[in-house]
Structure formats: structure tokens, C-alpha cells
Amino acid sequence: MTGEPLLQVRDLSKTFLSRKGFPVPKTVAVRAVDKVSFEVGKGEALGVVGESGCGKSTVARLALRLIEADSGDVRFDGVDVLGASKGDLRALRRRMQIVFQDPASALDPRQRIGEALGEALRVHGLARGRDVRTVVERLLDEVGMPKVAADRFPHEFSGGQRQRLGIARALALGPDLVFADEPVSALDVSVQAQILVLMERLKAERNLAFVFISHDLGVVRHFCKRVVVLYLGRVVESGPVPAIFDEPLHPYAQLLKASSPSPDPDHAVAMAFQEGEPPSPVNPPSGCHFHPRCPFAIDQCRTVSPALRTAAPGREVACHLYPE
């Protein structure tokens, strides 16, 4: 990475509280995101991987301030995002956008596509009058949709087409960074490839940076240069894609690799791991969150939570097995 990173996330934390139980409700705290840090450079694609419920999507929503964080620091191009005033935040919104997992719920069902894209342009004063239609058509063309799509309603499109439209909306304001929250996991495999090709082209043509959230390691490996592995709201490992995918250090990253399907039938999958669901984030295990499932756990893992430390240049891991 050269120079100042585009997005810098430091110690981002969020705890969700809910009151459950009868007749005396108890406050239940879910530590969804626990001191997560990462950086994204200009035009870079960062993968965020982990099991469902590990806080991947919450990280994106916190950084975009769709949810307010409890603590931490988010800097976009040097600007403090979490402390930004309403006006500053509006300016930041033009530069940071999001693409959602479920294309069916990502578009307003009562709004024609042209209106939806045009509204974003008008609200930010990026186009007026007749220009709106021109810009909308250019956006549609950029994501591979015909001009007539502007006059249609979302329900008239297929899942893959809707995802293209969701991407067009995210591009409308000309952002530098797009959070892609599982952008292809709701789509058929054949359509997944098309959307990935589209995003790859946009990355190159617009020098667009991505935070690519996914549980599909194959897709992340294909699309991203660096990757952050989350487990129960904590970063357990981060580094360049080839290093982490070929030689994962953290036992959880090794488990992810082992459970990810391989195209080579002769390649034996070593399952030295204990089976099992990830533990509940409501009541996470003490020490290292992963120790109940970890075959290499030592006494220290049960009591002390490992800090993230540099294992190799550009590579960090949070595990007691790798002392400094």
C-alpha cells in the first residue's frame, strides 16, 4: 500500500443490547464487533471473511454510520467519519456506498429505476432537468443494462439484473469506495460470475476500492488482494490473499481453508478439527473465542485473549501459537 490509506478503521466496537425474558426481562449484550481494525487503499479490494453472525455486515454498517458505533475510529481520506457532522456526513456519503446481499429488498418496489437513480443525483445536485436522464442512462449502460430499464419497476427484473441496478445506484454519486455486503451470495452461480466480472471492470475503470464481505473463499480469492478473517466479532488474521489462502496461520483460518471445497479430487481434505457450530455471540467463550473448537488450544487460550501481532510483513495474526 502506498501513502495514506483511503479507509482506516481502528478498534471499531459495537455491542447490541436487547431485553429478553419473562416475567423479569434481562438485558442481553451481544458484542457484534470487538476492536476491529483494517485499512483499505485507493482502488484496492479488501476481503472480509468469516462465518455468518461473525459481524461482517455490522462492520460495513458501522463504517457507513448506518448504525452508530460504540467506540473506535473510522477515517475516510483523513476525515473522521464517526465524529462527522450531518453536513460532513452527507459529503462523505457521496464517496462511500454499499451494495446489498439481497437484491430483492435493496430496491424500493414502488419506484421506477430511473426515478431511483435520478433521485440520488438530484438530492446531491449532481444533475438537473434533462441531464438526469442522460446520466441515468449512462449509469445503466455502465452496469450492462438497457436504457429502457429506467422506466421499469424492480419486480420486472431478475435477481442478477437487480444486483446490477443496485450497483448502478451505488455508483450514481461517483464513490471512491464501495462496501459489497455478500453481493453475489443470493445469486445463481452463473450470474455470480457475471456480477464479479462487472465489479472487476468497475474496479479497474473507476479505480474503485472495495470492501468485499463474503463467506465464499473462492470468490474472495478471485476478487481481493488482501483479506481480513473475522471470528465472533474479532479479527483473527489479516494479510495478502495468497499467503492466507495457501498457508493460513490462525487455526480458524486453517479450518476455513480445509472446509472450503477444492476442485482437485485427489487433494485430501485434512479435517483435524472438531466439528461444531460457532459458539453464541451472546455468551462467547473466555480467552480466545476459538479455543473450544481449536485442536491446538493450550491453557493460555482459555484465559487470555490473544492480541493481534505481526507475523510477517503485512501479515497479522491473533493466536498464542505464534509468539512474537
Binding site: 448506518l66 454499499i98 446489498f100 430496491l107 418496489p109 414502488r110 433521485e119 438530492v123 419497476f153 454519486l173
Partner: protein
């Protein structure tokens, strides 16, 4: 009726919704009945055979006949003309009160559901208190306090309608808020008012309109009930509830006095419920085909 085959409104998500609603014929029948009633009420001056307040001492308490289809009352007034003129007040009060209740209740409900937190808690608590009163008792109390007049009657009935619409709009807003497009709007930097009233509101109008058509029936019934117990628009103005009440004194001598205005009320109730059920079937994706 040719208007049944009118082009499907684009706002209904499924193209088959209109057809599905009209297949049973209930919605179409209800709409036709209501439109005819409104026309008759609006054109009362020309449609009604007599002046509703004109007394004819030679024709007191005459039964239905060709000269007076619905008979005459104790003052010799034509009951048919009074029922037609009464429709004006009853329908007007019902429509205006429901409209006021829908607009206010929906706006408050959307705000409550969208913002959540303390605002929502306060509004929900107030709604629960209002809903704990039976709707008629509530209207009765309000008219008793405010005094019977056309304006106060509309106000009282509107207030009884508000909590129901707060609840419907709030619930639908809560469900809609979970959709990603609301987050997308926020990520695009849209203001709360824009999101609430240009994005959430159009998506919950189905539920609100269905409720409104059913509440219209309730509002008209409430007006008639209040008029019957003497808390409606003061006499001699003809209203359906009032005509039933006046006829009550001479019911043993002239059954037609109360029966015909009651039938008018019944007809409106049936028509509006047909519309409400039809709209609900048309907009509810879970309804059987």
C-alpha cells in the same frame, strides 16, 4: 360494468392483483354501490322527490305508496327525500372524519415506527390508552364534552380513528424499515422526511387503504349511532341516525319510519366491507388464489 376491465393500476405490485380482486365481484359491486350512493347524495336536490323538511299535514304517517315510496313521517315529511338528504350528512361526516384520522394517524405511525426509541414508546403508550376505550364510548365522550355540532362530530369520529391508523402505519413501517432499500436511502444521504414519506409511505399504503375502507364503515356507523342517541347533528337536519331516532317514537304506527334509513345504513356497511375485503384480498400475497 365496463369500468371493471379498466387497465390495472401500476402501483399494485402484481399485475394480477386487480383481476384477482374483481374475480369474485365483491370489490366491483361494493364500488358500484358506493359510487351510486355518493351520486344520489350529491345530486339530492334533483334526485329527491320532495323537500326533506316540507311538512304536509294531510299526509301524516302514510305507509309506502306510489306518491311516497318510503312513506311519510309524523310531520308528513317524505321519508325517501329525508333518507336521500340524510346520506349527504352521513357520508360527508364519514369521509371527512376517516380522511382526517387516516392522514394524522398514518403520519404519526410512520414517524413512531421510523424513529423508534423514546418517541415510539410514548406514542405507542398513548395509542394503547386510546384503544382501550371502546370506539363508540370514546366518540360519545368526545361529543358530550365538545357539544353536538357537525364540526365536533367530525372531530370526535376522527379522533377515534387515529389510534387504529397509528398502529397499522407503525407496524408496517417497522417491517419496511428492515428492508435494505431503507439503508440504501440513508447511505445515499437522504433526509429522514424523504425516506419516511417518499419511500416508506408509498410501500405501506396498501395496508392503510384497506384499513381506511373498513374504517369508513365504522365512522358512518358511529355517526348514525351518535345521531340516534341524540348526539349527532341537531334536528331538523336529516341524518340517517336521526331519522331512525325520529321514527322510533312512532314505530308501532309506522314501521317504515325507521326501517328505510336503517336499510340505507346497512347498504353502505355492506358496500364498504365488500370494498375492504376485496382490497385486502387484492393486496395480500398470502390470500388464496
Amino acid at each position: 360494468m365496463s369500468d371493471v376491465a379498466a387497465p390495472a393500476p401500476v402501483s399494485l405490485a402484481a399485475p394480477s392483483a386487480w383481476r384477482r380482486a374483481t374475480r369474485s365481484g365483491g370489490l366491483a359491486l361494493g364500488l358500484v354501490l358506493v359510487v351510486v350512493l355518493i351520486l344520489v347524495a350529491a345530486l339530492a336536490k334533483w334526485v329527491a322527490p320532495y323537500d326533506p323538511d316540507a311538512q304536509d299535514v294531510m299526509m301524516v304517517l302514510e305507509g309506502p305508496a306510489s306518491a311516497h315510496w318510503f312513506g311519510t313521517d309524523a310531520f308528513g315529511r317524505d321519508v325517501l327525500s329525508r333518507v336521500i338528504w340524510g346520506a349527504r350528512i352521513s357520508l360527508f361526516v364519514g369521509f371527512v372524519a376517516t380522511l382526517a384520522g387516516v392522514v394524522f394517524g398514518t403520519v404519526v405511525g410512520v414517524i413512531s415506527g421510523y424513529y423508534g426509541g423514546k418517541i415510539d414508546k410514548a406514542i405507542t403508550a398513548a395509542t394503547d390508552v386510546l384503544l382501550s376505550f371502546p370506539q363508540l364510548i370514546m366518540g360519545l365522550m368526545l361529543v358530550a364534552v365538545l357539544g353536538p355540532s357537525l364540526r365536533n362530530l367530525i372531530l370526535a369520529i376522527a379522533i377515534t380513528a387515529i389510534p387504529a391508523f397509528i398502529r397499522v402505519a407503525r407496524g408496517s413501517t417497522l417491517a419496511m424499515k428492515e428492508r435494505d432499500f431503507v439503508d440504501a436511502c440513508r447511505a445515499l444521504g437522504y433526509g429522514d422526511l424523504r425516506i419516511m414519506f417518499l419511500h416508506i409511505l408509498p410501500n405501506i399504503m396498501d395496508e392503510v387503504v384497506v384499513m381506511a375502507s373498513l374504517w369508513l364503515a365504522t365512522a358512518i356507523r358511529t355517526e348514525s349511532t351518535l345521531a340516534f342517541i341524540g348526539l349527532g347533528v341537531p334536528p331538523p337536519t336529516a341524518t340517517w341516525g336521526g331519522i331512525v331516532r325520529e321514527g322510533f317514537d312512532n314505530l308501532l304506527d309506522g314501521w317504515w319510519l325507521s326501517v328505510f334509513p336503517s336499510l340505507a345504513i346497512l347498504l353502505v356497511m355492506i358496500a364498504l366491507n365488500l370494498i375492504g375485503d376485496g382490497l385486502r384480498d387484492a393486496t395480500d400475497p398470502r390470500a388464496p388464489q
